[in-house]
């Protein structure tokens, strides 16, 4: 099977049906390892046991950003090639990305209260992630507002690509401005600054959450392809009912 064959929605759906059980099994296995690693990870010498919040907060932040980057690539596919599978990929990723961004905000607040003494502060990192969440809500609203899927996809693609400017702002906000949020400690020149006893569980949870995202995204794409089939059939039914 060539890559171009996968671009056919029906073939893609058939492939997704075959791949999903394996992805689910890999996700469950990865979470079993990740949660075990997180459970037995030592306390941080300054933050104590609250460092365990990092094992869910960082993967959630990564996936909130990753989903938007995926939607941006799909948006290019929509605008340049007008490919329906690109529309499907973007639409399926939006609610999942929104959910992980919300998870990042909630877990960050719950980590901030005992460590910073506040649930929220309007610093650049926190505010730019909140803006990302609001943009997700805007995208979700747009998908629901415009009924014709191809037109909705084009409008959403433009909004997504404009919104992608927020991604480097999120990443570099801790370098460009004085923030209460700490600087980069994982993706940085010179390598991670985290001790291996905490870095290994974090990487295990990052892999588990990424597999979860891929599983959910593939399942949501399969649903979206089916939704478009249902839509077409409902239109055929309406035509048949209306008569000549």
């Amino acid at each position: 099977m060539t890559l171009i064959d996968l671009a056919n929605p029906s073939r893609f759906r058939a492939l997704a049906e075959r791949a999903l059980p394996w992805l689910v099994a890999a996700t469950v296995l990865a979470f079993a390892v990740g949660v075990e690693q997180a459970y037995f990870a030592p306390d941080d010498y300054q933050q104590g046991a609250t460092v365990k919040i990092m094992f869910i907060h960082v993967p959630a932040a990564w996936l909130g950003i990753f989903a938007w980057m995926l939607m941006s690539v799909a948006g290019i596919g929509t605008l340049v090639w007008r490919h329906p599978l690109a529309d499907v990929a973007a639409k399926a990723a939006a609610p999942i990305g929104a959910a992980f961004t919300l998870m990042c905000l909630i877990t960050g607040s719950l980590w901030g209260r005992p460590m910073w003494g506040t649930y929220w502060v309007w610093d650049a990192r926190l505010t730019s992630v909140l803006v990302l969440f609001l943009m997700y809500l805007g995208v979700l609203a747009l998908w629901r507002t415009i009924e014709e899927p191809a037109r909705a996809a084009r409008v959403v693609a433009v909004l997504t690509l404009v919104g992608a400017i927020n991604i480097p702002i999120i990443k570099f906000s801790v370098d460009w401005w004085n923030t209460l949020h700490q600087g980069a400690s994982l993706l940085r020149l010179g390598g991670p600054t985290i001790d291996p006893t905490i870095l290994v569980p974090l990487l295990a949870m990052l892999i588990a959450f990424t597999l979860l995202f891929l599983t959910l995204h593939l399942a949501a794409m399969r649903n979206e392809i089916m939704r478009r089939r249902v839509r077409t059939m409902l239109m055929m039914q309406a035509d048949a009912t209306a008569g000549p």
């Binding site: 029906s10 609250t50 999942i96 089916m226 249902v230």
Partner: protein
């Protein structure tokens, strides 16, 4: 394992993450179930897309 003086925050963070993951999984599953039901009803009425007919043949 002791979670120390901030146990409530750690437990709340994990509970919130678990609830969001559960909501996502439920959304995908219930959405699929509803779509399958609608698709089956439409096919029972004799409506089928070209690609659907190709898949079955």
């Amino acid at each position: 394992m002791s979670l120390g003086p901030h146990a409530a925050f750690i437990i709340a963070a994990y509970a919130a993450a678990a609830a969001i993951v559960a909501a996502l999984v439920l959304w995908v599953m219930l959405d699929r179930r509803a779509l399958m039901r609608t698709l089956a009803a439409l096919e029972a009425q004799g409506f089928a897309r070209r690609s659907g007919r190709e898949e079955r043949s």
